[in-house]
């Protein structure tokens, strides 16, 4: 699971069956630098490319979420669906202490 900030939403008029009515979020993934800012939305976008994430928890604009990428994102669905990123947690608090030698 990676953390990221929700920077937008997508709606689809025509979808693969099984994904009708789904909610989609555009998420900018956190890099190492972003973690220091806690749950605040980081200023500016991440250097990593943004991803579209399937959402059934109700994430909103500006929120920090935890999303899972890869084949595992589709495991909650019984007839398989072609998704590879899913929102798994709405983050309340981040406790982060970087290690220094």
């Amino acid at each position: 699971m990676r953390l990221g900030a929700v920077i937008g939403r997508v709606t689809l008029s025509k979808t693969v069956s099984g994904l009708a009515g789904a909610r989609w979020l555009i998420v900018s993934p956190f890099t190492r630098e972003h973690y220091q800012r806690g749950k605040e939305t980081p200023l500016g976008l991440s250097k990593d490319p943004s991803v579209v994430v399937y959402d059934d928890l109700g994430g909103g604009l500006g929120q920090t979420i935890g999303f899972i990428e890869g084949r595992e994102a589709a495991s909650p669905f019984d007839p398989p669906v072609p998704i590879d990123a899913i929102n798994a947690a709405l983050v309340d608090e981040i406790y982060y202490q970087p290690f220094s030698k």
Binding site: D48, L57, G66, D92, Q97
Partner: protein, 92 residues
Amino acid sequence: MLLARVEGNVVATRKHPSFEGRRLVICQPISNGGDAEGAPQVAIDAHGAGLHQRVIISSDGSAARLAVGDQKSPVRWMIIGIVDEKQPGEPV
């Protein structure tokens, strides 16, 4: 599997039900020399890894689903062990 260092944890009330009662720890992948490499990953932790301990994290989803006991869970990254020492190099 990646060598990583525990750098914190995440609190989430609204989450996939399979994460209920699981510790979510922030794991920073590190190089052989201990320098950070790439973006941190959040993994579930069954072993009670402490802050700044070195761990091995695995991206095997099927083993992680077994660990949380839910075959429909999207869980992927899991701490599979805590590093005592590594060759070559000094002990932790």
